[in-house]
């Protein structure tokens, strides 16, 4: 959804952090993206690589770990993985419900993150 703006923010943070630490070349960037965000991982990595071109982070390796969704059911108190009533939308939180009591009254505990975890660089 907002892949381009998120990618540019990531790029700015990476280059700023590398510069602050006298990095000469950025070797890898590690991200963690929740499966319930409206972010398409392929688009995010594509834009990061595009925006890195011509910088000290050109051709850097981008590693993305997906964070699985975890829910808490407000109706029966269940905590854990959610259940989806539509296979195509398994990662869509609006369609997630409680696997124990089927209620849609759930809270998201995990899966909405977009984390820039760490970068690796040479000095």
């Amino acid at each position: 959804m907002h892949e381009f703006s998120i990618a540019s923010e990531i790029v700015n943070h990476v280059l700023e952090a590398a510069q602050k630490n006298q990095g000469k070349k950025v070797l890898s960037v590690q991200l963690e993206i929740g499966e319930l965000t409206l972010l398409n991982v392929e688009q995010v990595t594509f834009w990061i690589q595009e925006l890195f071109k011509g910088s000290i982070a050109e051709n850097t390796k981008i590693k993305v770990r997906r964070i699985k969704a975890r829910i808490a059911c407000e109706a029966c108190g269940y905590r854990g993985k959610g259940r989806s009533n539509q296979e195509d939308f398994s990662s869509h939180f609006a369609l997630l419900n409680c696997p124990r009591c089927k209620s849609f009254q759930i809270k998201i505990e995990k899966g909405q993150e977009c984390l820039l975890k760490r970068i690796q660089a040479t000095r």
Partner: protein, 222 residues
């Protein structure tokens, strides 16, 4: 002989742990705190393009009959058309033009709140950019969120955009007088809404005639 070997470039890690989506959430929390301090109830009015968000806001102000107690932040890519229309009802309006962005965000609302004269204002209605996708991921700090859709958008709008309807406290189905002409069954849309979001109130309105507006006022606690 002692040989000093070059170690080559030193490789090091920089831990960042930065959540890029959390910035908006923390700004939204700050907005909420500020509004609470000022004793203002804020409503985020989201909805499709042309569903009647501005008409609903106008109808709410008219029905409340206390224009001077209402502040409105009107969000659009460009123009002041909505702000001008709302001003006719006697409310204080500030137009936020997002330029290219398809949603309002907490930072824009922070600036708007700072710039508005809010003395005497009890209710702040925030008209989001017409869009059933992006505003869902950007909370603004409002106390309640209403999503407006209308029968002229066809019978599948709610099922196709579950994310935003899931976050609504109130779901408004507008232009209800046109349901028959559009061959749309409002009860089916209500069932779709209840399945996705059992907690939200579902209200059928005709913002132009005023039908259902009382119910919206009650549901929003205005």
């Amino acid at each position: 002989m002692k040989i000093i070997k070059s170690k080559g470039p030193e490789i090091f890690d920089i831990e960042l742990e930065k959540d890029l989506l959390s910035k908006n959430r923390s700004l939204a929390k700050a907005n909420r705190k500020k509004l609470d301090r000022l004793n203002i109830t804020a409503i985020d009015v989201m909805g499709s393009i042309g569903s009647g968000k501005t008409s609903l806001i106008k109808a709410l102000i008219k029905k409340l009959n206390r224009g001077e107690e209402v502040g409105v932040i009107a969000g659009d890519l460009t123009t002041t058309i909505d702000a001008d229309r709302i001003q006719e009802e006697g409310a204080r309006v500030i137009q936020v033009n997002t330029g290219k962005e398809c949603h309002l965000d907490a930072n824009l609302i922070r600036q708007a709140i700072d710039q508005m004269k809010l003395e005497g204002v009890k209710f702040l209605l925030i008209e989001n950019v017409g869009n059933l996708i992006c505003p869902g991921e950007f909370p603004l700090g409002a106390h309640k969120r209403v999503v407006v859709t209308s029968v002229t958008e066809g019978p599948y709008m709610i099922l196709k955009h579950p994310y935003i309807f899931k976050q609504a406290d109130v779901i408004v189905l507008n232009k209800i007088d046109l349901a028959k002409a559009m061959k749309v069954n409002p009860s089916q849309l209500e069932r779709d809404a209840k399945q996705i979001n059992p907690k939200a109130s579902f209200i059928k309105t005709n913002a132009l005639s005023g039908k259902g507006i009382d119910q919206v006022i009650r549901a929003l606690g205005l």
